[in-house]
């Protein structure tokens, strides 16, 4: 009898942790929204929701891109710095170049991603180190080109950026755009050969190689997707803030990674989904905006994000030790 009861307990436990990590993104976002709503009902006022949706757009882009890098088992720490850089460049040059700045920034994102991917695959450097160095480079370029401070987009050129924050059917245009891009990312994840390779590399790089997948292409593609998304996120920040802010991206990298982890994507690679990242981002935004609404000082935000990331990674991590991840 004792044996039987032990067995049942074991089974129950297993189901519990598995379903938690599966639905964690939905559970956490509901929980967070509920808590803040109870503390301050204004949290779900129309204005507050509009604001949160606007906040969500660029972070969602950033996190969507990072999701692909995490699929490979790598990491892109430079996403925030790239966003800072494109935010500054967009703010500075939009009055000269106009709307063409957007495709230019996409090209810049492609170039950055290719450089990162090339360094990682050609010289077998860890993505951690490459993107850490890239962070300092792009951050510095952002600071140099901005002269170290924010610069507002002149009033007579505002028409170039205002449309992005305007609501369309109650949702800001820039969030529509972002959702369209997430849709595209989901298509890439589901229906392209390269995403199959990307996941395989993350799940077991050695086996993926032996099976004849193009591991180099997989890693470079993932880095490029991420950098393009980061670059676009920077553009959106410039549109949203209506100015160039050289340090806008500093806290974003960590926030985006926390959001992806909350969405159930494994930081060790090989599993997860771009769609889950949406819920992860919603959670993070709800937390930061909620703290604002209940009057917690903004400086505390990073502590909370750090703690959330650790908890999210813990829930997703493999605690049984049974399926050891081999890289």
């Amino acid at each position: 009898m004792k044996k039987l009861s032990e067995f049942k307990l074991g089974n129950l436990k297993k189901i519990n942790t598995e379903s938690i990590s599966k639905y964690m993104c939905l559970i956490s976002v509901t929980l967070v929204v509920l808590i803040f709503f109870v503390i301050n009902p204004k949290f779900l006022s129309l204005y507050s929701i509009q604001n949160m949706l606007l906040e969500m757009a660029p972070l969602l882009l950033l996190a969507g891109g990072i999701t692909f890098v995490l699929f490979t088992g790598g990491i892109d720490l430079s996403a925030g710095a790239v966003a800072s850089c494109t935010c500054v460049l967009t703010g500075l040059y939009i009055d000269n170049i106009g709307g063409w700045i957007v495709p230019l920034m996409i090209v810049l994102g492609v170039v950055i991603g290719l450089i990162n991917g090339f360094l990682i695959t050609a010289f077998k450097l860890p993505s951690f180190i490459v993107t850490l160095c890239a962070t300092s480079i792009w951050k510095c370029i952002a600071l140099i080109s901005s002269g170290g401070g924010s610069k507002i987009i002149p009033l007579d050129k505002r028409y170039l950026v205002n449309w992005a924050s305007a609501p369309l059917l109650g949702i800001p245009v820039m969030l529509w755009m972002t959702l369209a891009i997430i849709g595209l990312l989901y298509f890439i994840q589901r229906n392209t050969t390269v995403s199959k390779s990307i996941l395989a590399v993350g799940a077991n790089a050695r086996a993926a190689r032996m099976a004849g997948t193009n591991t180099v292409k997989a890693q470079i593609t993932a880095m490029t997707i991420c950098s393009v998304c980061s670059a676009l996120a920077g553009v959106l920040y410039a549109f949203k803030m209506k100015s160039s802010v050289p340090n806008i991206g500093d806290p974003l990298g960590l926030m985006a990674i926390a959001a992806v982890a909350l969405g159930g994507t494994s930081l060790a690679g090989g599993k997860g989904s771009v769609l889950n990242t949406i819920a992860g981002v919603a959670t993070i935004i709800a937390v930061t905006s909620g703290m604002n609404i209940i009057n917690v000082h903004a400086l505390w935000k990073d502590i909370v994000i750090g703690v959330i990331l650790i908890i999210a990674v813990f829930i997703n991590s493999d605690k049984t030790g049974k399926d050891v991840i081999i890289k």
Binding site: N191, G212, S266, I326
Partner: protein, 507 residues
């Protein structure tokens, strides 16, 4: 002569695989004992159980009359049992003396500070004790040639065991001679004899039967995890050892020999004078359409690295490889796949399956370009269909195509890897230990699959898990020894060479 260690019905099970069973070994004081057998026959496993690296799953051991089992190497050391491992276990960036006393620095320590000078002096004594006089104890291990490292390792184990037991120790040497020169081997043998004379016992594994016959007083022969014979020194001769190593089972039905195909004229793969520095030299052979070529050889014969070169995992230093008459550059497994070569790797867990992914993703992963539209778009429906087909065709036991592959048993997971290889439609398939860790039922199914693909006109290269399998599957055999091809056999379905013929060329 006192008995030191005795095993009764000792055995070891991994999962559902019995790798060792019914072992009755007696180790007496003053004896040098030899263990021989093919790769995977269970010799190393037995040594590891005695040395405390692995736990036995069946039977018992008695040491000096008392029940014995060790769960760590240290525990075995305390009981006077020490092992020199096949793969070297020295820390290369530490000095010789630091390695010899690694974990035992206590006696040289005072107030937390280690007296290195004193350690070097004692280490020098330990080295001389083992007959090694040309090594400075303060030199770093990485600066020593391999043979000397091996001697240092032996000196270390001798010292540990001597320190712990004056009552007769047991030293286990797992293929200790493979990297040594003839002269060094003789020094080692001298040491072994000296140790035996002092009342210790030495257990010695080697693939070189001449060495075994020269030094050992008693030889235990292993096959498929069982013990097939105990032969005294005076009774030993090569033919007897060979025949006991291979047994006498006839298994043509098992290997579906009736469906063995006759090779066609068309040459699919042609290897010309290919070498990889330090691993194998000037290997040449052709593989024809519909042919199964077995590459036989003991570990270290170079067949494993030859296999890695052919599947694009390692580069070669000279020679050319042609696929269907065209010279190819196999710079990566991806490049090899493009040219039509895919491997079923040996280490299923680390190299074969992509553990976190589903059965479906594991099946299509080598066929992505072929199944896609323009190399980019791939239809989920198509992938599902293909995977469903394979699961039904190979009777893969699972809950569905989305099940994670690492939840499957060894045999079922291996079937998925085979499905992947066949789905890729490559003309040349390399099977590196295709049935390792696979149960008997799945083995037979895998053998029929191999017949299926040769009937379709594929060329297959096999590195068999056992010699029996290598011969059973092959339509031609080449044998490698010490990095060279030493011979070959034609293996028509009704005219196969015996295992003894082949093993004579291997050893």
């Amino acid at each position: 002569m006192k008995t030191l260690l005795k095993t009764e019905k000792l055995g070891k099970i991994y999962g559902t695989n019995v790798v060792l069973h019914d072992i009755d070994v007696e180790i007496n004081q003053g004896e040098i004992i030899g263990l021989i057998g093919e790769n995977g026959a269970g010799k190393s496993t037995l040594m590891k159980i005695i040395a405390g690296v692995e736990k036995s799953s069946m039977g018992r051991m008695t040491l000096r009359g008392e029940t014995y089992s060790a769960s760590t190497i240290l525990e075995a050391n305390r009981n006077g049992i020490g092992m020199v491992f096949q793969e070297q276990s020295l820390v290369s960036n530490l000095s010789v003396s630091q390695n010899i006393f690694l974990g035992r620095e206590k006696k040289f320590r005072k107030y937390g500070i280690v007296n290195w000078g004193k350690m070097n002096v004692v280490a020098k004594e330990a080295l001389e004790n083992a007959g090694v006089s040309n090594v400075e104890p303060n030199k770093k291990v990485e600066t020593l040639p391999f043979a000397l490292r091996e001697m240092v390792e032996i000196a270390k184990v001798l010292n540990i065991v001597d320190e712990n037991s004056k009552r007769g120790s047991i030293i286990l040497l797992d293929e200790a001679t493979t990297v040594l020169s003839e002269e060094e081997i003789q020094i080692l043998f001298g040491q072994m004899r000296r140790m035996a004379k002092l009342g210790n016992a030495v257990v010695f594994i080697s693939h070189r039967l001449d060495e075994i016959m020269e030094i050992c007083d008693k030889i235990y022969v292993f096959k498929d995890g069982g013990q097939t014979a105990v032969i005294k020194k005076e009774d030993a001769n090569l033919d007897l050892l060979y025949s006991k190593m291979v047994g006498d089972n006839n298994s043509s039905e098992y290997y579906v020999t009736s469906r063995q195909t006759v090779a066609e004229e068309e040459i699919l793969l042609s290897v010309k004078d290919v070498s990889r520095f330090g691993e194998f030299n000037n290997v040449s052979f052709d593989v024809k359409k519909g042919e199964v070529l077995s590459i036989c050889g003991v570990e270290g014969s170079g067949k494993e690295s030859l296999c890695s070169v052919l599947c694009g995992d390692l580069g070669h230093t000279s020679g050319t490889i042609d696929v269907s008459g065209k010279k190819v550059n196999l710079s990566s497994p991806y490049a090899a796949l493009k040219k039509g070569i895919l491997v079923v790797p040996k280490d299923r867990r680390d190299e074969g399956i992509v553990g976190l992914l589903s059965i479906k993703e594991n099946i299509v992963i080598s066929s992505l370009d072929r199944l896609s539209v323009g190399g980019i778009y791939i239809s989920v429906k198509k992938c599902n269909q293909i995977s469903e087909n394979w699961i039904n065709k190979l009777k893969i036991k699972c809950t569905g195509i989305e099940e994670r592959i690492n939840k499957l048993s060894g045999g079922n997971a291996q079937k998925v890897v085979f499905a992947r290889a066949i789905e890729s439609e490559v003309p040349i398939v390399i099977l590196n230990h295709p049935t390792r860790g696979v149960d008997v039922g799945a083995k037979v199914e895998i053998y029929s699959l191999i017949r299926d693909i040769t009937e379709k006109g594929c060329a297959v290269i096999v590195l068999g898990d056992t010699l029996d399998e290598s011969i059973g599957l092959a339509s031609r055999i080449i044998v490698m020894k010490d990095g060279l091809v030493t011979g070959g056999f034609d293996c028509q379905a009704d005219k196969k060479p015996t295992q003894i013929d082949v093993i004579k060329m291997m050893m």
